[in-house]
């Protein structure tokens, strides 16, 4: 044990003695934290719509896809950081009324396996430099009835994200393709 390790603060579980070594808090160990005194802020609430109303041809065999970045912010961390992102739906196109007032974390399903349209989602992701909110869509196969228009900006969302102080295990993932 290094000299450094001898300093800190620790707490045992209630009614437990420190000597049992199973502590609920040990200041030597990393915790989830957010630096709230940096620019740009790493804890934000952002209001946005669902982006472009993609018009994609419904092909007979191979799905067509589209993706765009709706928001990006430099995170200024020395690694791709862990994050939490909660999408809260405030308004929707017809047929989606059950989604209003509900939320999902890190991925928001806008159209999920819609048999005549396909799939569409917002998702959060990070790389070495930035935190992103992206919008993706993919057509279904075998319903080649001409082009289809996705919901895009008909969805209104309020999202809250926080960029944590430790390296991401999960970088975020396009849930569609």
């Amino acid at each position: 044990m290094s000299f450094r390790n001898d300093f800190g603060i620790a707490f045992a579980e209630d009614n437990k003695d420190m000597s049992d070594g199973r502590w609920r808090f040990d200041s030597r160990k990393p915790k989830w934290a957010v630096d709230v005194k940096v620019d740009p802020p790493r804890l934000r609430i952002v209001t946005m719509d669902g982006g472009t109303k993609f018009v994609l041809q419904q092909p007979p065999a191979t799905p067509n896809t589209a993706i765009e970045t709706l928001f990006q912010q430099e995170h200024k961390m020395p690694f791709p950081p862990a994050f939490l992102c909660f999408f809260y739906v405030t308004d929707v196109p017809p047929g989606h009324s059950a989604d209003v007032g509900k939320y999902q974390n890190n991925i928001l399903d806008m159209n999920y396996n819609n048999i005549s349209l396909g799939q569409e989602a917002l998702f959060a992701t990070v790389d070495d430099t930035n935190f992103y909110i992206k919008h993706a869509a993919k057509t279904n196969v075998d319903f080649g009835q001409g082009p289809s228009t996705f919901s895009g900006s008909d969805f209104k969302v309020r999202l809250r994200f926080e960029i944590l102080n430790l390296r991401a295990v999960y970088l975020g993932r396009n849930p569609i393709f």
Partner: protein, 282 residues
Amino acid sequence: MDTGAVFAQDGVDVRNAADYQRVLDSRWRFMEVEYDVSFNIGLPAVAGVATVADRYFEKTLVYTHALGKIPFFETDAVSSIGTLQQLDFGFWSSTVGIYADADTVFLRRLISTGGAVAETISGRLRVYNLPILEAYAAPKTFIQSGSSPEANTGIQFLEESGGVSLGDASSIGFSIDTRKKILSVHRHGQVTLSDSLTPPAGVTDAIFHDVGYPPTFLLAQTNIVDPLAVDYDPLIYIGPNMNYIPAKISSDTSYLHFKGIQASFGGTFGYIILKDPVELQQ
């Protein structure tokens, strides 16, 4: 317990600090990282069994955490023969998964009539000092936040391998820092959910939280429905499903409600409710 320590974020009067503005409260658990490791595990080719009835699971150690409790963990991994599709929510029907028991985190691979090809599984594993399946509720104060002038005073504690010094303005390397927001745990435990109109007795579509506002949370499926009835129960699986839940969530001051997307949503889950509000920018 009448004694302990409380520190609030800089600019918040500690006497009136809301729970989510406390960077340390000695009564609480925090999202404390016990181990953070990378792994790279070679799995050999295995010959198939004679009949489907002879199927079995091969178990390979990823890491020995020796916590004596099933911990909250997160992982993401790739296979040399492609992305681990089983790390999606449908993992129970797949061939390889990552699980934890009271002492280890391990890979489990299904060996059936087709056998298995050699592959390498690599990724990152983070194990937390949180026995997620145990019922835990932190004391709460739930008072409205006050404020005080930001000051040049406060506390910092160094992580063991943080690579920073006291007084640094670094975003990383401090386990406690009154200039930062430190996320604490309000509740954790295990719950069986179903959004069915006729759920089994004692099962609901909701997790009780009583934090007083819609909170942030994490969810991980446990008690896997094992087609082979191999008894690793209780198991916990946490991977990308921690980051994607196939349900729309609504919340009030006391409950999180889950409604499946397209299909019904249900199962047994480990959960962590954080004191961090899902609506506030603080």
